[in-house]
């Protein structure tokens, strides 16, 4: 009997779930790629190898800083295969060698040597180097041997392994090296150790052949560093303390050297007339390729130059020459300082890959401006002065303009402006937007959201990024939206100046990428916190306040100071120290027409903070309450100042402990806190509307758990117009519920829509490379087995969702670092960009697209039915009149 009930219960739940899932999400198969796109990247290239085997199988093998091994087509730069190794230290790649297979060495002790098939990327062999007590090894792969070298005082410890089998493992030989002292700089290249002492004595020792060659180079200063040079010979680039550079090549036991100009990148190629130094000198975005025979110091006749390519400053990563003749017919792979990967073929640019996009730090989606015609109409209606005659004049004038425009476009006379694209305008539904992306190397991109095309890009050279919670971050502010034509939109980024670490602001027009207010503005203080004024001035600019660590306040742009002064008593900010768990709240005080931050509260959490979640400023809450089963209303506690903070403590009794605090950042009151014993980071949090969702790893039950908190004011509404943290202290009623999530979470984000009418879904990026869409109803803390409320599901601890809930369907997105959601003009739709190693863009409609026709709406059917009805009506009318006539004659 009992079993029967359980089964019944289960069936009911299943039906509930399936209705819920079917009713809300998932694609149809023919919608694949219709409004989503994916772009794959490999990351900043660390080592590469070019191999020429005919047009189709010419590959560029790369290993990258993002722990990726990949083969790129030399022809167009597309990815042929890509293997993503482990995230973090365990997957760091130390060496690459390409022979009969691609061999990589990765790890941080234990080390893993993996062999990959050249064409398919399948694993061919794998063996491991045991953990050693030492660290600081250098590695080189040369002629089927892997050498592990440790530098000691006058000694070298060399262990060699066969790259196929790993034998002989652990056999270490010690080589006495009297020429090695602490001051000398050493490098491992092509199975040879090259060391340069302070006096300029060069010693090169082969690891397999024991060949020792030494010589002296004419150095006037001390060498500062040795960097590898792409070359089939053992070679190195010596940079002196003053920046002079010289290339060293060991060829057949003799030492060759040549000066390299400061603005040139160098590689050494093999040819029939000995080693040749290939130089690509950089000036104004162009490279000029020249060559010089090293032994005779003769320059080659030919020179090749790229033409207006606008390339970044770069280093040669690898190259391969087509013939053995002493010429420049080589493929040169360059890695730019903006992380881009460039292939030059005989001095011409074959392709450029924007690999900075594999390390995105900040994302914003911005409305495109309206088209010129619509702007003219808007202008007409915006301007109310001039009386009825003036308005009539403007009306006629703008309509004449429209007619002229129409005639011109019909005749095809319209000239194309080269700088901006015609179709980059706002669409009817607000779905067409521009994605602003800031990457780890301070490169900014403007990307179209329809297909991922890069509209503009800009690399900032003199700035560093902030870092918080172990990841880099860039505060991004939209100071003026693109709605206020003819004023340009203003987007501002906050960086740190390279070297001094002081504040640097970069303002630009997000639509065109043009710098505004002089581009980079440097300040003479370290910034503690920033604040975007919630109010626009008469030029529609929201003022940006920078609070210095000395508590002074600077305003950007400076002319909006008055707005900030007028508004100052309503401004509260908080700053958190992640390491100590110290939170400080500040109020802004006016003194001598200047603002100062004054500390008003302080909370010491006494533990390092692992995660902080704020509410999205663009969020709107449509429904203020929730109707209960007895038809009474429970009002939501919607506090826009609420911040969720998670700390991690290592406790001797409870081992790991995660504590969650909900803090009102205006009053400094801790509204709620909860501790989870034996819980581990990573903690991911979402703070939205009246609820908070967070996840952590339960160490005891060894599973990821998701907790949802829902905050309510109670059955009466305290203030229907606006929330105030200061007027009264509300103890919200908090409901909570825990769920088990059967995946490892990498990133979590809620969907957002224009007016907040649509349901919220939670998008969870998981470690297996997909993004799962969870309806909020599944996480609702109201879920219980005995509640009889409408629309509330019975409680189940498990959050296993069907595959239809996978937003990314069969795409695998490795190493997801973040999800960005943005409202579209349509209330039903939220735009989503998932970033990590890959970029994935799509739209979600949490309550289905209730405001537009479905894309499978059968227009032809409705047309056929309507025209059928109309024609039937006419025919019957005719027939009826004929019949009436006949009847009349009878």
């Amino acid at each position: 009997m009992n079993v029967k009930i359980i089964i019944m219960n289960f069936c009911v739940r299943l039906i509930f779930f399936s209705i819920l899932i079917y009713g809300s999400q998932a694609l149809y198969e023919d919608q694949v790629g219709k409004f989503d796109w994916k772009k794959s990247y490999v990351g900043r290239v660390k080592y590469s190898h070019t191999s020429l085997n005919g047009r189709d199988s010419s590959n560029l093998y790369v290993v990258t800083e993002n722990n990726v091994v990949a083969a790129l087509s030399l022809h167009d730069g597309s990815i042929k295969w890509r293997r993503v190794l482990e995230l973090g230290e365990y997957g760091v790649i130390h060496a690459l060698s390409v022979g009969n297979e691609v061999t990589t060495l990765s790890g941080n002790g234990p080390y893993l040597l993996r062999g990959w098939n050249l064409n398919s990327g399948m694993l061919t062999h794998e063996w491991t180097i045991p953990v050693s007590e030492h660290s600081g090894f250098k590695w080189t792969i040369h002629e089927n041997n892997l050498y592990q070298v440790r530098f000691l005082q006058n000694l070298l410890e060399v262990t060699s392994y066969n790259i196929k089998t790993g034998n002989p493992a652990g056999f270490t030989s010690t080589i006495s090296a009297p020429w090695l002292d602490i001051s000398s700089k050493c490098i491992l290249d092509e199975g040879t150790i090259i060391c340069v002492s302070d006096s300029g004595t060069v010693t090169a020792r082969g690891l397999s052949s024991n060949a020792l060659s030494s010589g002296k180079i004419p150095l006037s200063e001390k060498p500062a560093s040795l960097t590898p040079v792409s070359s089939p010979y053992p070679s190195a680039l010596v940079t002196t303390v003053t920046g002079k550079r010289m290339v060293l090549v060991v060829s057949e036991g003799s030492l060759l050297f040549l000066d390299v100009p400061v603005n040139a990148v160098a590689a050494v190629r093999k040819s029939s007339s000995g080693p040749i130094l290939l130089q690509a000198s950089f000036s104004d975005g162009d490279y000029e390729l020249s060559g010089m025979i090293l032994s005779s110091k003769h320059s080659l006749q030919e020179k090749k130059k790229t033409d207006g390519a606008r390339l970044p400053k770069a280093l040669v990563s690898s190259f391969e020459c087509v013939t053995d003749d002493p010429d420049l017919s080589c493929y040169l792979t360059l890695v730019g300082e903006d992380d881009s990967l460039i292939l030059l073929n005989e001095g011409k640019v074959s392709w450029v890959r924007e690999e900075a996009l594999a390390n995105i730090v900040a994302v914003e989606m911005i409305d495109l401006p309206v088209s010129d015609e619509e702007a003219a109409i808007e202008k007409e209606f915006a301007n109310k002065e001039g009386g009825i005659v003036g308005m009539l004049y403007r009306r006629i004038h703008s309509q004449c303009l429209q007619v002229v425009n129409a005639v011109i476009s019909i005749l095809g006379l319209k000239e194309h402006r080269s700088e901006s694209r015609e179709d980059l305008v706002k669409d009817q539904f607000g779905l067409h937007k521009l994605i602003i992306i800031v990457t780890n190397v301070a490169k900014i991109y403007g990307m179209e959201n329809d297909n991922g095309d890069i509209i503009w890009q800009h690399h900032l050279k003199d700035v560093n990024l902030f870092s918080a919670l172990d990841s880099p971050y860039v505060p991004l502010f939209l100071q003026r939206t693109s709605r206020h034509l003819p004023y340009p939109a203003i987007c501002t980024l906050l960086f740190k100046q390279k070297g001094t670490e002081k504040a640097a602001l970069y303002a630009f027009n997000p639509i065109t990428g043009q710098p505004l207010f002089g581009g980079l503005n440097f300040y003479d203080f370290h910034v503690k916190q920033t604040l975007l004024l919630p109010k626009e001035n008469e030029e529609f600019i929201k003022s940006l306040l920078l609070i210095a660590d000395t508590d002074g306040v600077e305003v950007f742009p400076p002319e909006t100071m008055q707005d900030a002064l007028d508004f100052h008593q309503d401004l509260f900010v908080y700053a958190s120290d992640v390491e100590t768990g110290n939170l400080n709240g500040f109020n802004l005080v006016k003194s001598n027409e200047k603002l100062r931050a004054v500390r008003v509260w302080n909370i010491q959490l006494n533990a390092p903070i692992t995660s902080i979640a704020q509410k999205n400023k663009a969020e709107r809450v449509h429904s203020q309450g929730r109707v209960l089963a007895d038809r009474s209303v429970l009002y939501k506690y919607i506090n826009p100042h609420l911040v969720a903070v998670a700390t991690h403590t290592i406790d001797p009794v409870h081992k790991n402990m995660i504590t969650i605090y909900l803090i009102d950042t205006v009053s400094g009151g801790v509204i709620f806190n909860a501790a989870h014993k034996r819980a581990m980071p990573p903690v991911h949090m979402i703070n939205s509307e009246s609820w908070v969702v967070y996840s952590y790893f339960n160490d005891k039950a060894r599973r990821t758990e998701m907790i949802s908190l829902d905050l309510y004011e109670g059955k009466s509404m305290r203030n229907s117009t606006e929330f105030s943290s200061l007027s009264y202290l509300v103890e919200p009623i908090i409901e909570r519920q825990a769920y088990i999530f059967p995946h490892n979470i990498m990133a979590m984000k809620e969907t957002i829509t224009e007016k907040g009418i649509t349901n919220k879904h939670i998008l969870v990026g998981v470690s297996t490379g997909s993004v799962i869409e969870i309806p909020w109803a599944l996480l609702d803390p109201h879920r219980s087995n005995d509640s009889r409320e409408e629309g509330v599901l019975p409680y189940t601890p498990d959050l296993t969702l069907p595959h239809e809930a996978t937003l990314t369907y069969n795409h695998t997105l490795p190493h997801i670092t973040g999800i960005h959601t943005s409202p579209a003009g349509l209330e039903s739709t939220s735009l989503v960009l998932v970033y990590g190693l890959d970029l994935f863009y799509t739209r979600v409609a949490p309550s289905r697209t209730f405001d537009v026709l479905k894309d499978d709406f059968e227009y032809w059917l409705i047309t056929a039915v309507l025209s059928g009805l109309i024609s039937a009506a006419y025919i019957t009318k005719k027939l009826a009149s004929r019949k009436a006539l006949k009847q009349a004659w009878k």
């Binding site: 893993l112 953990v131 050693s132 060894r702 595959h803």
Partner: protein, 235 residues
């Protein structure tokens, strides 16, 4: 006392059983000199849903994750994989493929390097269902990411109850009057109605005749009388 011995025996039995189950383990313990951690090797083999129908490149699309991707293993040509350097602990092994569904497996390595594998049960983590080790992981199906779009078919349309409800009255309205006009059909109908006609006197008639039996002749006589009068007049 007796109970304690019994418990001990059980414990011993348990240990023996445990050893038997882990005889298969090919755990390769690498003794490191400094760290006391013993690293183990987890091995296994992955199979597709159906060997014959699997796409040619299915192996290259599979990555096996240990502990949420902190360690990854790639498949060799024979479908086998290895995790080397795994410290003791409890781990979840997930096989990821864009289209195949694999069940995750929990692998536990004790401090001596013994490995046992069991099914993942997040809800009741104490419930243990052992699976053989070395792991043999077979796909249990295909992932269904998409809804199947409803297609418009004429039969679906016609057998829709609403349509049937519309068509039937239409038939009644349109076809029946036509049938009445047709003389043959009318004849048939008449026959049909004749068949159903009962020679039963009407109730009202019966009642009227019963109550006013003698009065029946009266009108007749009056008529006759009238007729008589008429005739008289004419005569």
């Amino acid at each position: 006392m007796e109970r304690l011995v019994y418990a001990k025996v059980l414990l011993c039995f348990g240990v023996v059983y445990y050893c038997i189950s882990s005889i298969h383990c090919v755990s390769e313990n690498i003794d490191s000199n400094t760290k006391d951690v013993q690293f183990s090797l987890i091995t296994g083999k992955v199979f597709p849903v159906d060997e014959e129908w699997a796409p040619a490149d299915w192996k290259s699309e599979i990555v096996v994750h240990l502990k949420g991707g902190t360690q990854k293993a790639f498949l060799r040509d024979d479908g086998s994989f290895t995790f080397s350097n795994v410290p003791p602990g409890s781990y979840i092994i997930e096989v990821t493929h864009p289209n195949f569904v694999y069940e995750p497996i929990r692998v536990e390595i004790n401090s001596k390097g013994k490995i046992r594998a069991r099914k993942v049960n997040y809800i009741q983590s104490s419930q243990i269902i052992q699976v053989p080790y070395p792991l043999k992981l077979k796909a249990i199906g295909f992932k269904r990411f998409f809804h199947i779009r409803e297609q418009w078919r004429i039969t679906d349309f016609l057998f829709n109850p609403m349509i049937l409800m519309m068509v039937f009255p239409l038939l009644l309205v349109m076809v029946l009057p036509r049938m009445m006009n047709d003389p043959e059909a009318r004849k048939e109908m008449e026959q049909f109605s004749n068949l159903t006609k009962y020679d039963m006197p009407e109730m009202s008639e019966v009642i009227t005749s019963f109550f006013g039996g003698g009065n029946e002749q009266k009108p007749k006589s009056i008529k006759q009388a009238k007729k008589g009068n008429k005739s008289c007049k004419s005569e």
